[in-house]
Subunit: 767 residues, 2 copies
């Protein structure tokens, strides 16, 4: 049964293909690669006879496309023969095609329908959109979102959590005129004194001692201390870091590495800032490689004392906070030597200054001006045979008796070193909080400004809010989602840290190190984007980005360089992997492939890798599986690559060296997965009234991360090209949706206007 | 003919598949997706009978993999039966497999060999590597590079180009103790005076007037001026910008928008800095939207003068360089109104200060401290009915006679506006030079430091240079390649600008705007990465990143926000496209698909999209085609999307709004392609003695950009997954290779140590 269409005598078997052909040649963008895949389906399907197939192939030939009049006649035919379709019925191209066989609709199982369905799946063409257009209806697009109805109060209470009262008192404290940011002077020396004054005010509130025992004026509660530290991130970061150096690093080292006698002697004065001190670990020659620091602490039995000494120029203690001006003492890390034998890195309390200045044998030099944090007095310290009494060894993990005999509860030097360092992980738990608060503040400023700032508008009409720019939504909304995600990730990290046991220590440290890396990189990136999004206004000091950017910039380096930390995270994951899979011998390699294949084979089913349904893309099962797959695949891949190199005779150091970038990826994938899971848990646990906006943010976080890694997912066949396109479309849509709530979502951070302070956020447009 | 292998009676047809099977299950990482594609090849090939195919499929079943002993027996068999293979002969898996059919090697055209070749192509398995390993040889890996033999002197001369002498005199000038960066004070007021002093010293050399006519003390040569401006980027960027504001913006506006009378009256004093001035275009309410500024200049025939007026608070002139302290006059942009009619934006010379201070009707407020560039005195200006004589209208593009009659050589207000702005494109040509110089300096510091800085090393051995870390190479080497690429891109942009005619004006402006965007984003990213790569040392003020980062950070915003500029670039490309394709009606859409399909169909040939040969990946034809494809595809895609929206009844403003992110991508793709082409031309034109290192950089630039966009290329079927993996491998290799030359490659920038100044680059390791 032939039909007269566009001057051709078209076999009715070909008719069902017309809608597909029309779409291929009209507006919807079909790439040559996709045209090829249509041909593939046709050539393997038995729905057509050779001559019919040839006709369609001819119509698909890019070198010889159908003429406009041919296309027009197809369209007329399609429209004329589908006019009875219910107006709102969503139809696939296959269904539409099937109705074109007059009076004799094709059965659902017919090869032609199968082929069309296959083509539609492969192309990922949105059938309803394409058919609606062909039939002359408006395409179905996401509506512009209505006004936000986010319950800011409930959301804020949820984010503030159990320490809301303490948090609020810190925020109120900042509104005291004494704490005004306008007091910050240009001169770094004056700035340092101001910060010291502020730090004293905070200490007077008892906040510095919160993590210390009660006998030292504290509450023995690290979580309270961290809540204060997190709030400090909204004020001046020099204060935050000065506070952290004094109470967290200096106080923390005495608390964690010392014993009762040290606690009773020092902690109270540390908590009140009566005894300002430093944490002197890093050396000029050894940034992240603490194990190889060169300062020595040699026991002298005659003096019953340790002799602290800096053996060469680069072994000076470097970038030591509090050291240039204020510290009276420091916890100094040095190689403990006694009876001619070295026992590795230990910590010693070393007095640095009295009221008359620097003590004998101690030389301190100012690190001078820095990129930021100029309210913190960093300095370099050299020791020339400085004598400190034996009792100044912080001896929780190793002690020396009067005869110079060394003893330790931990026999292995290596294990001792890592145990000791492990107790100091609090710094890595804290830093991302400070960074995240700065990022939240930056987003608050950028979003509040963008909401009110107008620029170009439609010709002759009013200018529109720059937050209506899709570019601007794309710049800010995924960052807002990430800030929320990291919020829940940090809650988890802190919880793990607070409840840390000996057994899970390594994992807790890995989580802290990884969160520190990702969160601080996020801070740097978010503040950069927010500054740019505020244009010239973002560059003015009054609008906060200047200091927030400069001050937080070093977070990616201190407490461990992020790139190094992520390799540490990867190593922890690998050792966990090794535990469950034996020594990576031949059999475990076998298991690798088996394991990865069988656990993921269902996800790599083409139906899933090509699935572009909204419900699927927005489902937790899709995106959590994607995050897990990436982590687990990278883990096994790195394990295998390392093993392969070592097996082939390569030094294990060189093997790791070659795999570094992939280890960084692995560390990142692990934390990203963990953050997503924590976000999901956080959303599930939230009050129903705030679930919807949180769920949108969760989805935006998840899909924008998958989009960021789409190269990897495509490379590994986890998603097919069209699916990547649809994920991007979904991110666009979620950005638009979040934009409607964005002012409320930043309000929920609960930063008072007096603390936001930036005129572009609180006073714009100026009258 | 059956063979006893691993306890199975294996049909000899199956034997050739053993090497492939072994590789699939052993070290080389084969993903489940790839296992699936092996099955696909087998099922469509007629090389095997059903039972043979089933056997192989069984061996590929992830749920039931071959046992280790089976694998071992396969390996033994392969080794035993291929022992006669020449040791150095590179064999594919197919060739190796073919030799396993004892005494009866398979012909090259046999279906089995074809299938194996197809599998190998699809998987992209490096045959020679895999076979070498199976046969017990070491894998072939890239050797660690030898010492560099880059001819620094020749390369430096090539980069310096024709103005080498001038460049060197600027560099020498900076070494004068008067110009020492150590003189930079913390206090912004002192800093501004120092910068003014430095600017005067530069003016005394005649550098400020280089672009001006001879009667004004100049040489009428913009290229000379730009060479000086580029060199200034190595010193303090506040000086660079102050210099640019005074001579480029203030002087440039008088030169380009004024006529002879203005030139003779002002330019000489501007060039000597006797008449410091401002360029007052931007308003508080209108950042990038200059057309809608609100300041008015209303002609009053009675006074024969214009009345300059700021109608509301946000219409104040904002962030105006030189305004807060030094400017005596300014070019003020305002809506020209005469006889009750507005003629759009025009420029007027408005006196601001005399020796007694601000003039009547002028109010100036200091913008205060900024994120950076604190040596430049930015301010806000309000005008309250300020009267300026009629002759102060810069009247090249529009004049008003004594009666208040307006006339212009350009009738269309819109065309006049864009022509006027077009003459000011010099700023956009210049800014990226300043940014690029800062980036080059940052890379110089980071690479020189990394070369000497050692950290972790193999257990018990010396620490190694951190530049041997693959992570560090990955951080810095692609950036180094990009710095070189932008160098040639900027040369082109300047060349086009210098030779600009009326016909190519729009294109020249697009190139300048696009280069400005990409170059300044590159600067921000490169300096961030370099700072982090230098760790804590990078944070010390003495090591230069503090100021370079802060000062250059605003480059992404001023002279036009980068995101807005790239949309401008895209619009220019679209209008060029429209010119050649008509009005985007039905027929042109047809042409779109035809065009893109026929010009690229050959590249999308699977043989090419899967080709992972070294020669192919490193070939100019591969990567230049990839860059071109991306640009041309995005161009057509954006055109089509815009058309589709407008056709469906959407307001054209809204249509553009929805397509913004893609337009930004298009602008970017255009400039990236152009930069690559200019890099290629630059390498071709170089002396043979320096071609090799330049070619490596060109390849690194090209492949690392493709890697950055791999998501896009995969999404669009331009490369297949395995090819993406091999491109990344090639980037690794090029990073390693470039690392060997990197110290020389930064030396070739020719920045003297006294100007580099950072102790970590010039004095490390400290003694």
């Amino acid at each position: 049964m032939n039909k007269e269409v566009s001057g051709l005598n078209v076999d009715s078997c070909v008719l069902p293909f017309l809608p597909m052909l029309y779409v291929a040649w009209s507006d919807e963008v079909i790439s040559p690669a996709q045209i090829r895949s249509i041909e593939n389906v046709l050539s393997t399907s038995n729905c057509l006879q050779a001559d019919q197939r040839q006709l369609i192939q001819k119509w698909l030939d890019p070198a010889n496309p159908p003429s406009p009049s041919e296309l027009q006649s197809w369209l007329s035919y399609i429209r004329a023969n589908s006019s009875e379709l219910p107006i709102d019925e969503r139809r696939s191209l296959a269904e539409l095609g099937a109705t074109l066989v007059e009076g004799d609709a094709l059965p659902k199982s017919c090869p032609t329908v199968n082929a069309l369905n296959e083509i539609e799946t492969q192309l990922g063409v949105l059938g309803e959109e394409a058919t609606a257009e062909m039939l002359g209806k408006q395409a179905i697009v996401a509506d512009k979102p209505a006004q936000s109805n986010v319950d800011v109060k409930t959301l804020n209470a949820y984010l503030d959590g159990e320490h809301a009262v303490l948090r609020n008192s810190v925020r109120q404290f900042f509104l005291d005129p004494k704490l005004s940011l306008d007091r910050i002077p240009e001169n770094k020396d004056d700035y340092r004194e101001l910060i010291f004054e502020w730090c004293e005010l905070a200490a007077q509130k008892g906040w510095g001692a919160l993590a210390f025992p009660e006998h030292a004026g504290g509450k023995n509660d690290v979580a309270l201390y961290m809540a204060v530290f997190e709030e400090l991130g909204y004020h001046d970061l020099s204060l935050t870091i000065k506070f952290g150096v004094q109470f967290g690093l200096w106080g923390g080292s005495v608390f964690w590495l010392g014993t009762e006698k040290h606690h009773h002697k020092y902690l109270k004065d540390i908590g009140t800032l009566a005894l300002p001190g430093s944490f002197a670990m890093t050396e000029g020659g050894h940034g992240s490689n603490v194990r190889d620091i060169e300062t020595t602490a040699t026991f002298d039995p005659d003096k019953d004392a340790f002799i602290l000494h800096t053996p060469n120029e680069l072994a000076r203690k470097e970038y030591i906070g509090n050291a240039a001006v204020h510290a009276k003492a420091a916890t100094v890390f040095a190689q403990l030597v006694t009876n001619g034998e070295s026992h590795g890195v230990h910590a010693f309390i070393v007095p640095l200054r009295d009221n008359d200045g620097t003590l004998e044998g101690v030389r301190i030099e100012d690190n001078g001006r820095k990129l930021g944090l100029n309210g913190v007095d960093n300095g370099r310290i050299w020791f020339t045979n400085v004598v400190v009494p034996r009792e100044n060894l912080l001896d929780k993990f190793g002690s020396v008796d009067a005869m110079g005999n060394y003893s330790s509860p931990i026999t292995s030097q290596s294990k001792r070193f890592f145990t000791m360092l492990g107790t100091l992980v609090g710094g890595r738990v804290g830093v991302p909080y400070a960074g995240l608060s700065a990022a939240k503040l930056g987003l608050t400023i950028a979003i509040k400004y963008a909401e009110k700032r107008t620029q170009f508008g439609p010709g002759g009409s009013d200018e529109i809010s720059i937050l209506d720019y899709t570019t601007h939504q794309r710049r800010l909304m995924p960052l807002l989602a990430r800030a929320y995600a990291f919020h829940f990730g940090q809650q988890y990290s802190l919880g793990r840290y607070v409840n840390k046991t000996e057994d899970d220590g390594q994992e807790v440290e890995a989580v802290a190190a990884g969160m520190k890396s990702l969160c601080t990189w996020f801070t740097t990136a978010a503040l950069q984007e927010c500054r740019e999004a505020c244009g010239g206004n973002g560059y003015l000091w009054e609008n906060r980005f200047a200091d927030m950017k400069a001050d937080s910039e070093i977070f990616t380096t201190f407490e461990g360089d992020n790139t190094v930390l992520l390799q540490l995270v990867a190593k922890t994951r690998l050792s966990q992997f090794k535990e469950s899979f034996g020594n990576m011998g031949f059999v475990s390699t076998m298991r690798f492939v088996t394991d990865i294949a069988s656990t993921t084979i269902s996800e790599l089913n083409p139906v899933i890798t090509r699935n572009v349904d909204r419900e699927h893309l927005l489902s937790r099962s899709f995106y959590t599986a994607a995050f897990k797959y990436r982590e687990s695949y990278l883990l096994r891949l790195v394990a295998q690559r390392l093993r392969k190199r070592v097996k082939s005779g390569m030094d294990s150091f060189d093997a790791v060296l070659e795999c570094q970038p992939m280890m960084v990826d692995l560390g990142r994938a692990y934390i990203e997965r963990l953050v997503l899971e924590q976000f999901v848990e956080g959303v599930k646990a939230a009050d129903e009234s705030i679930q919807e906006p949180l769920l949108d943010l969760e989805r935006l976080y998840a899909l924008s991360m998958i989009e960021e890694h789409k190269g990897w997912y495509l490379e590994n066949g986890y998603i097919e090209p069209r699916k990547a396109v649809y994920i991007s479309k979904m991110v666009d849509e979620l950005c638009l949706k979040t934009r409607a709530d964005s002012a409320e979502l930043v309000d929920a951070f609960g930063i008072p206007d007096g603390l936001i302070k930036a005129p572009i956020a609180t006073e714009y447009p100026y009258q």
